[in-house]
């Protein structure tokens, strides 16, 4: 364990270099490669920041020594980025799209460092990039699936943070493809993506108005959607491994994100000297690394209640995205609250 001096970080910010001993033994030549992540919160929040820590740890198997700083406040972003870059870190990540502007400010001074905003949606030449998965493609698949599984031809989505690009992409993708398949779509936004009881209430309001398939993109609150569906006996989609188990008869599928896959693929290229200055979005068109996948249980994408022809139709969308035959680009209006 090496402690990295972290000047200018907020109170509570902590930088610790973690050296994976196995990686160090198996590839001693790569010991010079270093990657760091700046987290807006604390790594044990069970959600977004914990994911950031996992992304960082996954780079150890690609031969990187890693370090992180927690609770980096808005005003400290640029200084913290500069700190790691000046210590020779090849990859410096910020764990939210809002790090992009601080990166644009710092990047020109460190032309050999790759700056990456996790889940951002813009880049800056030559060395500031954002990485995210294509929410629109997967939202679209869920929209088609929901429309086909609905008997009332009304489907609903519960989201948080209206206007955030990846939310707009998924909610909008859902609406576009569900409406194309003939369903009426209602979307509501909740205040808090961690409040399960609040999300359940939102889902119940949609079900009360006739929706019989529910979807959403929330954090800890996603459980509330599944509970609402279970109580009312309607179908739902989740976003985690443990959500199928809550309502095995009703969870149609989950979007499982593959951040280690996305970052591993990028990190390998950076190691060979390549720099990215754009928004790199993984999806079916970037296979084999697709950024996310649909998952019901091991080796199964869909709940057995999904008829084979519907499962095929939803899976065929993936092929159309891969070949470029189909493109979905949702606007704010597609993701608007309401019907």
């Amino acid at each position: 364990m090496t402690r990295v001096p972290a000047r200018g970080l907020g109170r509570g910010a902590l930088a610790v270099a973690l050296l994976g001993s196995i990686a160090a033994f198996s590839s001693p030549a790569a010991a010079a490669d270093k990657a760091a992540i700046l987290l807006p919160g604390s790594i044990n929040d069970q959600s977004w920041n914990a994911l950031g820590y996992q992304i960082l740890k996954s780079l150890e198997s690609h031969g990187f020594t890693t370090a992180y700083s927690e609770n980096v406040g808005d005003a400290d972003e640029a200084e913290a980025l500069r700190d790691y870059a000046s210590q020779g870190y090849e990859i410096v990540m910020g764990h939210s799209g809002r790090f992009v502007s601080a990166m644009q400010q710092v990047a020109p001074d460190f032309p050999k460092t790759q700056f990456i905003a996790v889940s951002g949606n813009e880049g800056a030449d030559p060395n500031v990039m954002s990485i995210d998965w294509n929410n629109a493609q997967f939202g679209c698949q869920l929209g088609l699936l929901a429309a086909r599984m609905s008997k009332s031809h009304q489907v609903g989505g519960v989201y948080g943070l209206q206007g955030v690009p990846n939310i707009t992409a998924q909610a909008g993708g859902f609406r576009i493809c569900a409406e194309k398949a003939g369903a009426k779509v209602s979307i509501v936004y909740v205040k808090d993506m961690e409040d399960a009881a609040g999300a359940k209430e939102a889902a119940l309001s949609l079900i009360g108005q006739g929706a019989d398939v529910i979807t959403g993109k929330l954090n800890a609150a996603e459980t509330g959607l599944v509970q609402a569906a279970k109580e009312k006996g309607v179908y739902v989609t989740g976003r985690g491994f443990d959500q199928t188990e809550i309502a095995p008869d009703l969870v149609l599928t989950n979007i499982i994100e593959d951040w280690p896959g996305m970052f591993g693929s990028t990190a390998d290229q950076v190691k060979q000297g390549k720099l990215f200055g754009t928004f790199v979005q993984y999806g079916y068109d970037t296979a084999p690394v697709t950024g996310a996948s649909l998952w019901y249980e091991k080796d199964k994408a869909f709940n057995p209640v999904v008829p084979a022809d519907v499962a095929k139709e939803v899976s065929d969308l993936a092929g159309q995205f891969q070949s470029g035959a189909l493109k979905v680009e949702p606007t704010d209006n597609d993701a608007r609250p309401g019907t």
Partner: protein, 303 residues
């Protein structure tokens, strides 16, 4: 549609009502109940742990009472015994509960990752005959157990405060602790018991969220409901039924907020989400100084 909104209002109001009743005890005895959020959160956490450890909902409910009371004990000792500022103590208790529950959720799982416990939420108990009445039957008499308990709690609290000697001593402590002291009772003892009992009741409010509504605990899952409960008991002018009506009004406002979004009101969801809080602010501002606040609230006991 109206029925649907009333049903939602009852669901949203239930956890608030428990917390408001708990806070009522504390405030009527003369101590601001700023720590309700933390007591609810501790109750929500303890309910899930208790229910999964004992395999019974009763175990969860019992532990929720203990959980809320533990946080309340800290508040009682610091604010009453050591005469600390009520606001600061309450806020500190909320932060303590947030950190402690998150930490313990990881300790029980071992290995740093939070425990993922999923239980079936409490089922509803239809009351025979009454639940068969058209419309109002399913609406009022087909509720999960803690919702009935909240109504019973409201009745008991009202009787306690107005009809019992202990209740009169409690309210007298909130108005004029010197007089209570002169009559031979200990105002300190009264306030401590009031806060701890109130915490136990607020803990039940947390159990409604975790045990009755979603069947799991997540970090900070009370999401500010303790503060809304605090507002309810003030809007309800420190009476159990007043607080109940205020909780239902906030519940209805929140239910309406979600439905307003689907009506396609052409405003941002952020604006619509503020509605319940704007109502609370407006009512609080309207009440102003005309309200019947316990006279000695927030003042430490004379030495």
């Amino acid at each position: 549609m109206t029925i649907d909104i009333i049903a939602a209002a009852i669901r949203i109001a239930t956890p608030l009502l428990f917390a408001a009743l708990g806070g009522l005890l504390s405030e009527r005895s003369g101590v601001f109940a700023v720590g309700l959020e933390g007591m609810m959160l501790a109750g929500a956490f303890a309910a899930i742990i208790g229910a999964s450890a004992t395999g019974s909902a009763l175990g969860g409910i019992a532990l929720a009472i203990v959980g809320g009371a533990i946080i309340a004990t800290a508040v009682a000792v610091i604010a009453v015994r050591y005469r600390a500022d009520n606001m600061v103590t309450g806020l500190a208790a909320n932060i303590l509960a947030l950190g402690l529950t998150s930490y313990l959720l990881r300790v029980i799982a071992g290995g740093g990752a939070p425990a993922s416990i999923h239980l079936d939420p409490l089922a509803s108990w239809p009351i025979p005959y009454l639940s068969d009445i058209p419309t109002i039957g399913p609406l009022l008499f087909d509720q999960p157990p803690l919702t009935y308990l909240a109504v019973i709690g409201c009745v008991l609290m009202s009787l306690f405060l107005r009809r019992t000697q202990a209740g009169l001593t409690l309210t007298a402590t909130g108005e004029n602790p010197e007089a209570v002291f002169a009559s031979g009772s200990s105002p300190m003892r009264v306030r401590m018991i009031a806060i701890i009992t109130g915490g136990a009741i607020a803990g039940l409010g947390g159990a409604v969220l975790s045990l009755q509504q979603v069947g799991t605990f997540t970090d900070g899952m009370t999401g500010g409901r303790g503060y809304l409960a605090l507002a309810s008991l003030i809007v309800g002018r420190w009476t159990p039924w007043g607080a109940a009506i205020a909780c239902l009004a906030f519940g209805a406002a929140e239910a309406l907020e979600l439905r307003m979004q689907t009506f396609g009101v052409p405003v941002s969801s952020y604006i619509v989400q503020m509605v319940p809080y704007l109502i609370a602010l407006a009512v609080l501002a309207g009440i102003g100084r005309s309200s019947r606040m316990p006279a000695s609230i927030g003042q430490p006991l004379p030495r």
